[in-house]
């Protein structure tokens, strides 16, 4: 196959990078956007939300810079957090242990915001060295509802100089607790659901929940270190950049270089990661939109429930209500929570 691609396919491959360059490509991308976001938002609307969010989050980052007393502009601050030794582990074992300690601490804190928990065991593991070069920084592998396989948070210890300590809390909240481990295992353990729902998935729901889980940090009692809060903002900034560039590539005819330039201008990203991400967006159109679109909707649903219920709003019950029925399109989730709120008024 390698020979086929190298000798034949590359001679016929295209120079364009967006889906809209293909026949029926505009409709194809619109379909991907609908499937991945479960909304009727247009690429233009999503693009604009991305631009606005990038500006807002950069503003919040400047507040953190003041808080830690940093002298200089945002680019210099990015440079500082990406290079200063205080932010990096020198041994993989310490890095992994850092996540294990965090796991104990955050599991205990989760009781403040949750009343239902997965019973499936949970573990932190280091990504096996043979695949660490191509693996992502952190990922979650679901356990089995019968308990035969635990849920696993995989932390990648390859190139520790690319794994700032400040990124750890937000990554753990997203991938593990109360992010994907809670969301996926609560769903799979719910024997009242038909199997297609127990094992079903909607990207906007799962990734929206992951990013929403990152936003719970202060409320949970983590992000007490301003650099960890910066890490959260940095992760959120990146998800907002994705809205701009995914729609840029597939609906607005952006070139690969335009994408890279936008990333460098607006974030702390290193070249290797920027290239890998840009090419990932080209490969799986629309997927990158799910995170921010999903999180914004879940947050909007929560805000509305809080306003309507006032003192009667119990965040733990709200989280139960969002998670126990499993993944679903955002509009259906909204209607379901609406019904739950109505029943309490």
């Amino acid at each position: 196959m390698s020979n086929f691609i190298g000798d034949d396919y590359l001679t016929g491959a295209r120079e364009s990078v967006g889906l809209s360059a293909l026949p029926n490509g505009e409709n194809w991308y619109a379909y991907m956007v609908r499937v991945r976001t479960t909304t009727e938002m247009t690429p233009d609307e999503i693009h604009q939300i991305g631009l606005d969010e990038v500006a807002r989050i950069q503003g919040e980052m400047r507040t953190v810079m003041e808080e830690v007393g940093f002298e200089g502009d945002l680019k210099e601050f990015f440079e500082f957090v990406n290079t200063d030794e205080q932010f990096y582990f020198d041994e993989a074992e310490k890095f992994i242990q850092g996540y294990r300690d965090m796991s104990d601490r955050i599991s205990a804190l989760a009781k403040n915001l949750f009343e239902i928990f997965p019973t499936t065991a949970f573990e932190v593991r280091r990504v096996e060295p043979f695949r660490e070069q191509s693996a992502s920084g952190g990922s979650y592998m679901a356990g089995t509802a019968d308990g035969s396989r635990p849920g696993v948070f995989y932390a990648n210890a390859y190139d520790l100089k690319a794994r700032g300590k400040w990124a750890m809390e937000a990554l753990f909240l997203h991938e593990a607790i109360p992010g994907h481990h809670f969301q996926i295992m609560i769903q799979r353990e719910n024997a009242d659901l038909p199997d297609f729902r127990r094992y079903g998935s909607f990207t906007a729901f799962s990734e929206g929940w992951g990013l929403y889980a990152e936003s719970l940090g202060k409320e949970l009692g983590v992000y007490t270190d301003p650099y960890q809060y910066f890490g959260r903002l940095n992760a959120e900034l990146w998800r907002s950049i994705r809205l701009v560039v995914d729609t840029g590539i597939h609906a607005k005819g952006w070139t690969r270089q335009q994408v890279l330039d936008y990333m460098y201008e607006n974030s702390a990203v290193a070249e290797a990661r920027a290239v890998a991400e840009a090419e990932r967006f080209m490969a799986i159109p629309g997927q990158a939109l799910a995170y921010k679109v999903g999180q914004l909707k879940i947050r909007e649903i929560r805000d509305s429930a809080e306003v309507r219920l006032g003192d009667k709003f119990d965040v733990r019950k709200f989280h139960t209500e969002v998670l126990r029925d499993g993944a679903m399109p955002l509009s259906i989730l909204e209607a379901k929570i609406d019904r739950w709120v109505e029943a309490q008024i």
Binding site: V35, E128, S134
Partner: protein
């Protein structure tokens, strides 16, 4: 799961058999009836989907089909998937949603969206772009065989199952190449920059000796009891056959 489906089916048949004497106007009866029909439909779909997608079964810890792997870019697979979507959508729509209680209505809506989105997707030639640097069947299969993913490697049968999957993986690769050739003829091709990144990913799996293969990666973790020695011989056999069949140096 099969038992559960059987049990529910039995209740449905029982209800149907009682139909002659039961008061058909009682709203509870219709509601229960619709709900049972709906949930039997879901169970049947779930079962058939696991058979169609055996690796999905492995992912959820159901090891009945561990020796199989779907050729999901083939015309036969795509036709079977579409036929299943159409059949189950039709059967769903024959159920009166208004007769269902809230949770069932939720299930009804979610199932309907899944089937409709899947059918809608047939308008677009995903199968002509079956692989790139990000969704790579080869990378996926290497990880599956390394033991770091969901295929278990505990018993001799697990190894034999993987061998069988490796044979089907080779068929998958032939299909991927056929589809990419079709794509070239129809002008549905991938960006060059992405495919350039795929070549070294595949090349890194082409090795002179099985010992150099990623499939060897799990071996050092195994304590070498006598059972494990047998297993490692099996693994070696698996890898040699797999590596030589799936990543040939000169053909394709």
């Amino acid at each position: 799961m099969k038992l559960l489906a059987g049990a529910t089916l039995a209740v449905v048949l029982l209800l149907a058999a009682c139909g002659d004497t039961a008061d058909r106007s009682a709203p509870e009866a219709t509601e229960v009836d619709a709900s049972l029909t709906l949930n039997v439909l879901f169970e049947e779909y779930f079962e058939r989907n696991l058979e169609l997608n055996p690796i999905s079964a492995t992912f959820i810890g159901d090891y009945r089909y561990n020796d199989r792997m779907a050729n999901s870019n083939s015309p036969e697979y795509r036709a079977a998937e579409t036929a299943m979507d159409e059949e189950f959508l039709k059967r769903l729509l024959a159920i009166d949603r208004e007769e269902l209680e809230h949770q069932d209505q939720l299930s009804y809506d979610l199932f309907r969206i899944n089937r409709e989105q899947s059918l809608e997707g047939n308008e677009f030639p995903f199968h002509l772009q079956p692989i790139n640097q990000f969704y790579s069947l080869t990378n996926f299969f290497v990880q599956l065989g390394s033991g770091a993913s969901v295929h278990p490697f505990k018993t001799v049968k697990d190894y034999d199952d993987f061998l069988s999957r490796a044979d089907q993986f080779a068929i998958n690769i032939d299909q991927v190449i056929t589809n990419m050739r079709d794509g070239m003829r129809e002008g549905i091709v991938q960006p060059r920059i992405l495919m350039e990144k795929l070549v070294p990913q595949i090349d890194s799996q082409i090795v002179d000796s099985p010992n150099d293969s990623s499939f060897y990666a799990r071996l050092p973790r195994c304590p070498m009891t006598s059972t494990m020695q047998i297993v490692s011989v099996l693994l070696l056999r698996t890898m040699t056959r797999f590596v030589t069949r799936s990543f040939p140096r000169t053909s394709d």
